[in-house]
Amino acid sequence: MNKIQVITSINHEEVEFLCEPQETLLDVLRETLGRTGTKEGCATGDCGACSVLVDDRLVCSCLVLAAETGGREITTIEGIATEEGLHPIQQKFLDHAALQCGICTPGLIIATKSLLDRHPDPDETTIRYWLAGNLCRCTGYDKIVRAVQDVARDLAGPA
């Protein structure tokens, strides 16, 4: 097997790995690099559990070849919190009980970050359509949407 060497950056840290040409970024994150915070729900781009940011663009890591990621900046769920603690999105998901089983949560948090980076003050419809690619089977989305609204309110600061 002709393995390909890739040097990329994951959560602002240079990472080097070998991959097969048809391996996906999800495969490499989970199996080669042990970053299992990114989840696999379908491997066909239909559930969003494997959402990551590639150069700040929201994508399903199951639909990105690992070989394509050389020189890119990849953000995974493991890179969302900082030394100061949880990211506000993570905290609001907890405060609002916006997760039950939690398997979709990493993908939803990444997707929410991408949403708020682009639309800091989204209305409910914008939130729901932005997150439509992230399936959650436990919550009915209600508390997730409320958590996102609450983060947005906080980011907007006191009126």
Binding site: T36, C47, A97, L135, G140, Y141, D142, V145
Partner: protein
């Protein structure tokens, strides 16, 4: 009814103790563990829905470099002849053994016929392709009518219908019949002023948990195996794996990973015995995970059904008689929720005359598994639709019609016993009083209501409570946390002990490190395991009072436990300074050693839980597409321990019920191959499909639980089916009997009505 009690923590919504790991990606789910030297297992699945397996040749696969083990049905001990699957999933262990690995017949497309373990997934796939299977393809039986018809091809020549009045020696695809009746229905219908009838069909539907099944088994040369897996029931998984492989339970250790959803679907064993056996042969850890497609094709969805309902009532709305005929798809092997369907169909109502006839039918589809309130959504969809039709005929408010006939404490349930304290009328009144019930609808929109129900369960639970040396509390129990149950356990422990929520942590023990518990299912965890936790905490309090008594040198009965500390009974020994849990723990070495307690029980008296749902929706008359405008879930929780997670259960169940009502279904082609085995075409609701889901928690406490818990997980999925169908009826004036209410079906109904 019950006096209001001021709890400090019960009914609040603190952050769950396992939360940070779940929002940072640290929490380990079924597929997240990798072991040194591990290899990968994959399953070869039948390409036919019905076929005799004539020969399997694994020699080419076994000879491939990188392949460590290949197994087929021949590598398993004969399926056990006796015994049922305990508690949850239903069916016999022998049949489950055949689901895990087909023996002489493949009974559905996707049925496991062989498995391999190899160095990489790619090699495993190549090895699967190298296994030669010779099939004799048989005609598949794919729907209830065909399966029940005389002369239908038989799935099992040794299946003789159970519970017939006369024993039969003619094999049949009808595995079981069941009749429930009371009174005289003919006479009851004679007394009726109005009679409505309907015939309803619902296709098979899947739980749709986002995490595919996954496990890793590490079996040593002595045949001892450690299995890590995502499961709702690691103790039950251990038991089944032991029976299917004829192993000693003591040689199996099951560790429950975090679990990415189950809804009943992860009470059933599929991969674990394969992984244990492959690992034994390969002498390496074997990891197995299903693809999403395998989850759809080869795990246990819930029954497709066919129900016929007839209900009669007097002009004032009093029900006089009702009959139901229902057939439930069991899939390839017996064991379906038909019994629960039959028991729940008329359960909300005080009915003097009724008859329910139920059939459980084998066909060439996967063996059904448990899915949230198994059996009830289908049968209650039929009855609650008929009740809506009846209310229209009688020109009565649909909630008033239900209130008029609603069961209450002392009403005889259709399944026999009298109801204990229940909250159906409270839910109906709450619905009537809810602003969402009277809010004006947009032009052309419709509103529907329906009632839901589940028995709720008890079963066995164990719990231990350890007091750490600084007075913090560790609760250990054996129920995988699927939706925040650790937080509920912490609340109940902290409330009972009188300590802050933050000082309690709850762990889920593996099968070697804590006592037996049945599954996280049937809405039993907060009820039964919670009861064990409370009892163990009460034992800790008793111990603390004894420790305080010896510390102070006074009698134990002179010590009270108030707000998390031992205090002397009032009036005497007032000079003694209260001893907190931390004080007692710190001094434990001198007063008898570490503080720990445990409780184990078979919980009785789970409280039945009723719900009422209100659905508002709009129908696009040109395309048949339904837009859900508002949804209100009202349910009797007994007592909500963690309020937000109770609301979450109501909202999640509503979303699943709406999905089932609107678009979800197993679509089969003529060969018995599911055509939509993926999230693209098995259309579960996405965020933009749903509105906010309003909840209203009714609390009629269950006297059998220390905090009044009934259990809340099952009931929420029941009412949305009929509430949606009734709202469509309201919006377009047409009763559509079958689900899902997908756009082509709705548009066809509109066209047929000449719209």
């Amino acid at each position: 009814m019950s006096e209001s009690i001021d709890y400090k923590l019960v009914g609040t919504s603190p952050v769950r103790p396992d939360g940070v790991d779940k929002v940072t990606g640290r929490a380990q789910y079924g597929a997240d563990l990798n072991l040194p030297n591990q290899i990968h297992g994959k399953v070869l699945r039948s390409p036919y829905a019905h076929a005799r397996i004539k020969r399997i040749d694994t020699s080419r696969a076994m000879a491939m470099p990188g392949v460590y083990a290949v197994i087929t049905g021949e590598d398993f001990p004969p399926p056990p002849e006796h015994g049922d699957v305990g508690g949850e999933a239903g069916g016999s262990i022998g049949d489950l053994a055949r689901v895990i690995m087909a023996r002489d017949k493949a009974l559905y497309h996707g049925h496991a016929v062989a498995a391999v373990a190899a160095r990489s997934l790619r090699i495993a796939d190549e090895a699967l392709a190298a296994i030669e299977v010779e099939y004799e393809v048989l005609e598949p039986v794919l729907d209830l009518d065909a399966a029940m018809a005389p002369g239908a091809p038989l799935l099992d020549e040794n299946c003789f219908t159970k519970n017939l009045p006369e024993k039969t020696d003619k094999p049949s695809n009808i595995a079981e019949v069941m009749v429930l009746s009371r009174g005289d229905v003919d006479q009851g219908f004679e007394q009726a002023d109005v009679i409505v009838e309907g015939e309803y069909r619902i296709p098979m539907a899947h739980q749709g948990y986002i995490e595919p099944h996954a496990c890793i088994a590490n079996t040593n040369e002595a045949g001892q195996s450690t299995v890590w897996c995502c499961t709702q029931a690691h103790f039950d998984f251990r038991a089944i794996t032991a029976k299917v492989l004829n192993m000693n339970v003591a040689d199996l250790k099951f560790i429950a990973s975090e679990i990415g959803g189950g809804f009943g679907g992860k009470t059933v064993v599929y991969l674990e015995p394969l992984a244990v056996l492959l690992s034994l042969k390969a002498r390496r850890p074997v990891k197995m995970k299903m693809t999403r497609e395998e989850v759809f094709r080869a795990t246990g969805p819930t029954s497709g059904t066919h129900c016929k309902i007839k209900v009669g009532a007097k002009k004032d709305g009093t029900l006089t008689a009702a009959t139901a005929w229902m057939a439930y798809e069991a899939g390839a092997y017996a064991g379906s929720p038909m019994g629960a369907g039959a028991m729940t169909v008329f359960v909300p109502y005080d009915l003097e005359n009724f008859k329910v006839e139920g059939y459980e039918v084998l066909l060439n589809k996967p063996k059904v598994g448990a899915y949230r309130a198994p059996g009830a959504p289908q049968s209650m969809h039929a009855m609650e639709s008929a009740m809506d039709d009846l209310a229209r005929e009688l020109n009565m408010d649909p909630l008033d019609l239900r209130l008029k006939n609603a069961a209450e404490e002392g009403t005889r349930a259709p399944y026999g016993p009298k109801f204990p304290v229940i909250g159906l009328k409270e839910c109906l009144r709450a619905a009537k009083a809810h602003p969402n019930y009277t809010r004006a609808l947009p032009e052309g929109a419709g509103r529907g209501v329906a009632v839901g129900f589940w028995f709720n369960f008890g079963l066995q639970s164990s719990a231990e409570v350890h007091i750490n040396e600084n007075g913090t509390v560790t609760v250990v129990e054996g129920n995988p946390d699927i939706g925040g149950s650790r937080a509920s356990m912490c609340i109940m422990a902290a409330e009972t002990l009188g300590v802050p929520y933050e000082s309690v942590r709850t762990l889920i023990g593996d099968t070697e490190s804590t006592g037996f518990s049945n599954s996280t299912g049937g809405s039993r965890t907060t009820f039964a395991t919670g009861m064990a936790v409370v009892r163990a905490c009460e034992d800790i309090i008793a111990q603390c009072r004894a420790r305080a008594a010896v510390t102070w040198g006074i009698d134990e009965d002179q010590v009270l436990w108030v707000d998390g500390q031992a205090i002397p009974a009032s009036g005497v020994n007032d000079e003694l300074k209260p001893l907190s849990l931390a004080d007692i723990a710190e001094n434990a070495a001198k007063t008898g050693g570490p503080l720990l307690s445990r409780a184990s029980l078979t919980a009785k008296g789970a409280g039945p839980s009723f719900s009422v749902n209100i659905a508002d929706l709009q129908v696009d008359r040109e395309t048949g597409k339904i837009d859900v405008l508002a949804f209100t879930a009202i349910q009797d929780a007994g007592r909500a321990i963690h309020k937000a997670y109770v609301e979450g259960q109501l909202q999640g169940g509503a979303a699943q019920g709406l999905g089932w009502a609107l678009n979800e279904e197993y679509i089969y082609n003529a060969d018995g191959i599911m055509e939509n085995a993926g999230f693209l075409d098995y259309r579960m609701p996405v965020a933009s499909d749903l509105p906010m889901i309003d909840t209203h928690i009714v609390e009629v406490p269950n006297p059998r639980h220390p905090y009044g818990v009934r259990g809340v997980g099952e009931t929420p999925i029941v009412a949305p089916l009929a509430a949606t169908a009734n709202a469509v009826r309201d919006a377009i004036g047409i009763r559509i009997h079958d689900l899902p209410l997908s756009p082509p079906r709705v548009l066809a109904a509109l066209d047929a009505a000449g719209d």
